[in-house]
Symmetry: C2
């Protein structure tokens, strides 16, 4: 079977018109927002969209408003040709929106979105303007596509929580699906930023997942004291010589408020620098 | 012909579902956002919506987020029964959305929208949080209704400019129609706040429109110096003993940047307190 190449569109207005025509035919639209540098994690979202929606749109846009000065906006990998080949190999993607920054933020652009509550802790403390930028670009992509369903990875757990909060608070007519983390064979959560790791750092990086597995074993063995669990995770991570922990959190899965005791459901989230590369990971405890 | 009473809905989600069903039948939807206390200005928007759209929705909601502490949120007229009678007399309104504050801003609500540029001057200087609140509620109403077209009055000229900027910057899939100011016989622009005027203040209030007419006469007589025109308007307004001018502006119709000379198109905007009642008015110069 010949793989069908997606139609690549730069201009958001053109995509809106194309999708409007399909919507009037009764087609449902699935949106997979990405920053490109696609890996198997993204492709799992694409497959999910294809199984649920008539039309699948993948956006590829390294969004400047979610990077702070000094972060990795400039060096973030931009590999559109490889991404398109990747999507072609999956097949069934109808449109790729690949705008330039000026297509999304033209001269005179001056709009800002802030979602409170769930944005303040964890990533919000280390990257205080990050989620405003994410909310802004995602809101624009929702409006451009008028998608019925949008697909996000659980790897960015707090991001998914922010988007779900925005959908509720702004009455957005879209269904959000959060899809499981896809991991390398050694447990490292797939991420476009894994490319930044040196060979030796790459060998240390699975320590994040190992610390989550340790926590899961402790909890299934009866541990409930969040401080004790975090202490044990921290001790394990610190055996990796290039590691520096930004945070380890055991939190309510909805509000992301810190928990003292693991009694009902909980999510463990962590951010760890391995050398100069910042990695995040998480696990939902049943 | 028996007038048909609109269906009154409090819950935004219920309205979304009702409109979703109509949209799937191919019906177009018009939205007239109001704070109630309806007058002929609002009704002109309703008639415009009826003439352009299959389904007309009027929202009636005194939106707390667009009032600052000390403004007239508490005393703003709330007369839902009279408003419904008014809409019934026009006929053809399909739905009235009349939510309680908790329907729009439930416990835990924490979303914020800021549109820059055009919000900063004029009303933005005197009511610095006003347009953030307007943008937020209008964005929510657009999402709840997924209207094809929304109707706003030119009386709130800067508000209409803010909404149009928001639509562009957030890629909102909606057409904005700004409809002419409707005036009382003596020229006073219709406003729900005119009810606050005492009998003697009401007699002074047409001075706003008289000053705009003076400016139009000066310009059609060849005047171009904005400072001179504003000086003459100010002198006229100050003949009204209860008047206090917040601003008189001669500005670019799109950016609302102040103009030194009236050469191309321009808009004159003013805000004047008559006693304790703050009135606004404007006129577009051809």
């Amino acid at each position: 079977m010949a793989a069908i190449q997606p139609e690549v569109i730069n201009n958001p207005r053109v995509l809106s018109e194309r999708l409007g025509a399909l919507r009037r035919e009764g087609k449902t639209i699935g949106l997979v927002p990405t920053m490109g540098a696609l890996h198997e994690g993204h492709l799992s979202l694409v497959r999910r969209s294809k199984s649920l929606c008539d039309v699948t749109v993948v956006s590829i846009f390294v969004n400047p408003t979610q990077f702070a000065p000094g972060e990795d906006y400039e060096k973030y990998p931009r590999v559109l040709d490889a991404d398109l080949a990747c999507l072609e190999s999956v097949g069934g993607v109808d449109f790729v929106l690949a705008p330039a920054p000026a297509d999304m933020y033209p001269e005179g652009f001056d709009a800002h979105v802030h979602i409170g509550g769930v944005t303040r802790r964890l990533e919000g403390e280390f990257r205080p303007t990050h989620f405003d930028g994410v909310a802004l670009v995602v809101l624009k992509l929702f409006n451009i596509s008028r998608a019925d369903t949008a697909f996000f990875g659980q790897k960015d757990y707090q991001q998914a929580a922010v988007i779900q909060k925005m959908v509720r608070d702004l009455n957005l007519p879209i269904d959000i699906r959060v899809c499981p983390i896809v991991r390398e064979a050694d447990g490292l959560a797939m991420s476009s930023r894994n490319k930044y790791l040196s060979e030796s750092e790459r060998k240390e990086a699975p320590i994040l997942k190992k610390s989550l597995d340790l926590a899961a074993r402790l909890v299934s063995g009866g541990a409930t004291d969040a401080a004790e669990i975090k202490y044990r995770m921290r001790a394990l991570i610190e055996t990796a010589p290039s590691s520096a922990i930004d945070y380890i959190s055991i939190a309510d899965p909805d509000t992301l408020e810190e928990l003292d005791a693991v009694e009902g459901s909980a999510v463990i989230l962590l951010a760890v620098r391995i050398g100069t590369t910042r990695l995040i990971d998480n696990m939902i405890l049943p």
